[in-house]
Symmetry: C2
Amino acid sequence: MENKFKNIDGGICAAKGFKASGTYCGIKKPNVDNYNPNIKHKNDICLYVSDVLCNAAAVYTQNKVKGAPIIVTKANLEKSDNKAIAVIANSKNANTCNADGEEKADKMCQLVADELNIPKEQVIVASTGVIGQILPIEPIEKAVPILVKELDYGKNLEAATAIMTTDTVKKEYAVEFEINGITCHLGGMAKGSGMIHPNMATTLNFITTDCAISGELLQRALSDIVKITYNCLSIDGDTSTNDMVCLMANGLADNEEITCEGDEYEIFKSALYEVMANLTRMLAKDGEGASKLLECKCIGASNQDTAITVAKSVICSSLFKAAMFGEDANWGRVLCAIGYADAEFDINKVDVDLRSSKGTVAVYRNGSGIEFSEKEASKVLSSDEIYIDINLNDGDADATAWGCDLTYDYVKINGDYRT
Amino acid sequence: MENKFKNIDGGICAAKGFKASGTYCGIKKPNVDNYNPNIKHKNDICLYVSDVLCNAAAVYTQNKVKGAPIIVTKANLEKSDNKAIAVIANSKNANTCNADGEEKADKMCQLVADELNIPKEQVIVASTGVIGQILPIEPIEKAVPILVKELDYGKNLEAATAIMTTDTVKKEYAVEFEINGITCHLGGMAKGSGMIHPNMATTLNFITTDCAISGELLQRALSDIVKITYNCLSIDGDTSTNDMVCLMANGLADNEEITCEGDEYEIFKSALYEVMANLTRMLAKDGEGASKLLECKCIGASNQDTAITVAKSVICSSLFKAAMFGEDANWGRVLCAIGYADAEFDINKVDVDLRSSKGTVAVYRNGSGIEFSEKEASKVLSSDEIYIDINLNDGDADATAWGCDLTYDYVKINGDYRT
């Protein structure tokens, strides 16, 4: 992925005026008396807060089964006219499919609101973890005052690790960009999508910026960029009940607020793409049991939807994913997946290359496979980041989709690890 | 699955007037001089022929990449006004993505036509096997006269084994039924969907009947039944380039031809469902690396499309498939898959049970999980045939989908075995 912007540290605290904190409160333990804040466990709850009220935008899971935090957050943002100050998120328990789920999610917002002395509807709540287990509220009641006390402009990492479930690495990315000579920052954190426990409700994305931008454009930008980043990610085709992307803009960069589409809006969108695409890529690379990142770029499409459909079709093919695990250059599986993509194009004009840092192998031209060296192909596919380049030769639109290979570990993680 | 009709032997030869034969011709061998019809190998080519001209109906893969035999068969049936006498099919080579593919497929029809002295367009051709390898025509030229010579009313098994690639069992099913007091027969054979070699173009279904039925109703019945049987089968979500279902009716049962919808047509459709549903079930059970058959029945739907969408969504979920391999009763994954099914229903009215010959476990009622005994659930899921019963409590429509668990062997078969 080319870097258009300066990559900076700081994750959700890269933007001015965002403090974060994270702690271990013991959600995982059924017996909450085990909770001892002085013993340092892996964090399971975090908070981040803007110094001033933010415009907030969000995109939620399309699953009909929605986690209670999704329902409560949506209701809050409706009441607050899409303004928010604080986000509280926990891991280890998704608070989904529970009779008292909404009550508990609402309580989490109330606890934060009381402690920060802000309206409850300006608090966003998210949970990730096991579905169908009652969320213990007592450890959260004890944790919120600690989280508020420990809030700091440099504690993004405390938050980024608190949302991890079985992620093997924390996922943060941030960039610096300029709007009319004013330096702005945009950064985020994500979690997903390892699921050792059954029913993990998987992916969360939290993004902050100090760029001043209207609430309407913030939501438009987020919806547009989600479509070509997070929605082009597939680990196994399942859509979680708790998936959420949340973007907050506090305007503390002091640029003139972006209120209409134009050059400034495009720069903002590019910065958002940069951060979300990199987070998406990290999620793919850390996919369940993954040994290889797969990145499929479809160019030469007549329109962007076609490019997205084709690239996703390849990334979602179990057969192709298993072949990549086996480092097997069977282009037939790429072609098969392109062929059943629900989009209009001429299959006889398609070009396909397989590429990595170790070289490129052209495998398909003009409706037929072409001769290639198996030795060269094996070398290319031995890399842990594989690029599938598709040219439909039918226009100027393009799109990228991200995924990972299908491995023994995927089956092991999802089949064997119940207890 | 309840049996409405008498199950009989005979596969594609169960219907009166259908002869079959199968042989090994050496398609797999690059050196055709190895071919020796006296050495008994596993068959790789078969022929079946009706004593009289048949009405023929077919359903083809929706993949944009279509095997050459699909293109040639489609063209032949258009030219012959959907009449056919003979079907020739080979395994080991899909004759797909080859520059000379259509020429070779056409040649196969010509060879049969010449030998049987019938018009070429009354011959249906199908190939299954590796994509992108040139089909050697010489072994087929030598085999066709042998196939014709060996045609026999009892050689359905010779044909059913000839279309196997890495299938672990042959797949045949046939029934007897009555139309106005006249006994009719309908039977078939199928192959799929083990794919040890890369790029196998997978599933073929061949069905014959002696029932007299108009060509238009034959196609209508086939299209309707394919929708609720074969199209409700998923091993891994990939749609092959060579998939085809072909149904031929020769009328030799001597019933009055069925020419309009009504009781007789419904009986015929039920018989067709019985055969195709059983073949579909066999395909699912023999899915790549499968250790368990999964059968998901969705009842109480407002319409059939909703029932199909919900049942298929569960069967296609990699997470659920892996959980079944691990014999893990995580209903959260069933709910998650129901939730992202693209259909309209109230998720809070849904009931879910997991069932096998060893018992039934109710896991979900009214929008929440319910307590169940893990021990009882483990016992139920230890069976090799698992039923997922979903009631949407929203109407009278139902549908069934078939699949299999996701296992280490699936990954091994599709990742490791490139020679």
